[in-house]
């Protein structure tokens, strides 16, 4: 399927009496976005940048996983390893003011969007220096100024909230797009259906991205839904649709960018299903017995990070150069862990803060 025709937009449109479609913000005002379709979309520079970002996420989480087994991190820890290309592609196509709203599997987006690895690690450690001061933990990474509008832990519950961000963008005609990520397991709960219908009805500037990693905890898609292709639900909500396997970060960025710009300029929300895979268990406590070695291996062999590495080597990069990048990244994550380790716990009074705005 060629990239330009990938996005299916034939879903029936609201009739004449639907709320008037506001004109898209004049392109002049629209801030420049990365020319993800230009020839140099695969330039060594871009590839290296994307690769390094993916690698940072992976090393961050490997470090966090170690800390977890050492008992330095508690509670739930949902790793993103295997899905990094999605967060990296997303962060790379966003313009300032665009928002990412996602699930508890949120570390990747935080790193990709430029949150400090130390602050992220400190959040996992429940330290005062954490991304949200240690009160949210792994499931609630938020960095408003960086476009990370969070980390939500009730499945599907964030979908209407993300639609609300898009509603505000339309209300303010600010030309910003909200990208709402959800697992395929979140496609069968009420809040998701309600949020998507409202987005389609009001033609909100939002792209719903299903990270279909084939399982909701231990439940394969076939025991969640009678249909395998979840974009079959797009038409019923008048959402544009796209669906593809995530093995190349550059292609992923381009396909997502298409949906995002379509939402930005044509007030047409979209539902994009990404076929991906988490290499680890659902969370640290999950041995993942429900998946065969073969299946896991097969997906590992399509690891977008590795795929990118191969491209870099083909582009003339040397093993040594790659190793140098890795060492740098590893050093960054070791430092992040050290920072988290040495950071102070939150002040006792902190527990009384922010339940209401008056609390200080």
């Amino acid at each position: 399927m060629s990239r330009d025709t990938a996005l299916q937009t034939e879903a029936s449109l609201p009739d004449a009496d639907a709320p008037p479609k506001p004109d898209a913000p004049p392109d002049a005002d629209a801030p420049p976005k990365p020319d993800v379709n230009s020839d140099d979309a695969r330039s060594p520079e871009q590839l290296q940048r994307l690769y390094t970002q993916m690698l940072r996420i992976r090393r961050f989480e490997e470090t966090a996983a170690r800390a977890y087994t050492q008992g330095k991190i508690s509670g739930f820890l949902h790793l993103y390893i295997g899905q990094e290309a999605i967060a990296v592609a997303t962060a790379d196509l966003m313009i300032p003011g665009d928002r990412v709203v996602t699930t508890y599997r949120d570390h990747g987006f935080a790193i990709a969007l430029g949150c400090d690895a130390g602050a992220c690690m400190a959040e996992l450690y429940g330290k005062a220096t954490g991304l949200v001061g240690g009160v949210g933990g792994s499931m609630h990474f938020f960095a408003k100024d960086k476009g990370l509008w969070g980390g939500y832990a009730i499945v599907g519950s964030h979908v209407p909230v993300a639609a609300g961000h898009a509603f505000a963008s339309k209300y303010n005609q600010d030309g910003k797009v909200t990208l709402c990520f959800l697992g395929e397991g979140a496609m069968h709960i009420g809040a998701t259906a309600e949020g998507m219908n409202l987005a389609g009805l009001w033609r909100l500037p939002i792209v719903f991205v299903i990270e279909n990693n084939m399982y909701a905890m231990g439940t394969p898609l076939r025991r969640q839904s009678p249909v395998e292709d979840l974009t079959t639900r797009a038409a019923g909500w008048a959402l544009a649709a796209d669906r593809f396997v995530v093995d190349d970060v550059v292609d992923t960025r381009a396909r997502l960018a298409e949906a995002v710009e379509h939402a930005r300029h044509h007030n047409r929300p979209a539902l994009v299903e990404l076929l991906t895979y988490r290499f680890r268990g659902h969370s640290m406590s999950d041995p993942g017995k429900y998946r065969t070695k073969e299946e896991v291996e097969q997906w590992r062999s399509r690891d977008p990070l590795h795929h990118c590495e191969v491209q870099l080597l083909e582009a003339g990069m040397t093993e040594q150069e790659l190793e140098a990048i890795d060492n740098e990244v590893i050093a960054e994550m070791d430092a992040a862990a050290e920072f988290a380790d040495e950071s102070p716990l939150p002040e006792p009074e902190h527990r009384f803060r922010n339940n209401l705005v008056e609390d200080v």
Binding site: V132, G136, A143, V161, L198, L356, V357
Partner: protein, 334 residues
């Protein structure tokens, strides 16, 4: 001073705040083209247009969530639940998003949002449509809960609610929308968190036993009617309308109780837990040595509301039931 119905007072509050602040908008079922199921939002669509008066499909969780998301962006949504009975399907949005997002983001976000609509029983609407939700919405941190009983309070408190930077649950009542009362022409605000004495009592004396009657919402008129009956028997009620159920105005409650040493609670709601039980707990804890009698409650019977008119009347709190409770705390054998 104009005489307004509660629905008109609420409408005036919304209208003034929308005129004052472009970030304020109204969203809910039938709030626009239909002018509101109970006509609270009548005329607002014509005045402010579809952008700011937003009709929704039947999707409470959906539009409650949209309101929450919009509030995170700095807008100030007023979300109307046609009745709070229908907010049960949006419970997760209020409990897990509205009440927690500020806390779990370490204060990165502010949620200036009002969820408003009728609460409690109306008349012969049967069990699913005759529920008092304050026991649910007062039971967790992260929100404020308001309940109004007069046009004056309705306008002043709704305006404060719209200007408040916290999520607010704002209770009204179908059967009170038409109630009239004086409302000042000039703008005014009523602080959230402050109770109001709707009827003061005199000093204790031989023939006069002061009793504190704590009430809110639909309970207020019942309490005032009971006070009239009781007055004939030398039972002198100080009727305190809480107006805000969370946070509770402990000071107003305790000041009265320390003076009267007797308390009853009169409200539309179920007996188990909730604001009623919370008040008993606080009073027995914070005014233990001041109580001459146990705190008594006059509220719904602990059953699902039946449709039949005669049964509904028996389940609801009445002035007569309140009078008996007043006699009891005054140790007037009946």
């Amino acid at each position: 001073m104009a005489s307004l119905q509660i629905r008109e007072a609420l409408r005036a509050a919304i209208d003034e705040e929308m005129a004052r602040d472009e970030r304020v908008f109204v969203m809910g079922e039938e709030v626009g083209y239909y002018d509101g199921a109970y006509k609270v939002t009548e005329g607002l669509l014509t005045k402010y247009g579809e952008r700011r008066v937003v009709d929704t499909p039947i999707a409470e969780a959906g539009f409650a969530g949209v309101g929450i998301g919009a509030a995170m962006c700095g807008l100030r949504p007023i979300i109307e639940f046609m009745t709070f009975n229908f907010s049960a399907v949006a419970f997760d949005q209020i409990l897990n998003n509205a009440a927690k997002i500020r806390q779990l983001t370490g204060g990165q976000f502010t949620l200036p949002i009002v969820f408003r609509g009728p609460n409690g029983a109306a008349h012969m609407l049967s069990s699913t449509h005759s529920q008092a939700f304050e026991s649910f919405y007062c039971g967790f941190p992260g929100v404020k809960v308001v309940s109004v009983a007069t046009p004056y309070d309705a306008k002043g408190l709704l305006k404060s609610a719209v200007r408040d930077d916290n999520p607010i649950i704002f209770f009204e009542s179908e059967i009170m929308y038409a109630n009239r009362g004086e409302v000042p022409d000039e703008e005014y605000l009523i602080p959230i968190g402050k109770a109001d004495i709707k009827r003061a009592c005199g000093e204790a004396s031989k023939g006069n036993i002061p009793i504190t009657v704590i009430t809110w919402g639909q309970g207020v008129s019942v309490a005032l009617a009971a006070a009239e009956l009781a007055a004939k028997e030398g039972l002198d009620c100080e009727v305190i309308d809480l107006r805000t159920l969370r946070p509770l105005d402990d000071e107003a409650v305790l000041t009265s109780v320390r003076k009267t040493n007797r308390v009853i609670l009169v409200y539309h709601g179920w007996p188990y837990g909730g604001t009623g039980a919370e008040l008993s707990d606080r009073i027995q804890r914070l005014a233990f040595d001041h109580l001459d009698a146990p705190v008594l409650r006059v509220c719904y019977e602990d059953v699902n509301m039946p449709y039949a008119e005669n049964l509904e009347q028996l389940v609801l709190p009445t002035a007569q039931k309140a009078l008996e409770a007043l006699r009891e705390v005054a140790y007037r054998k009946v």
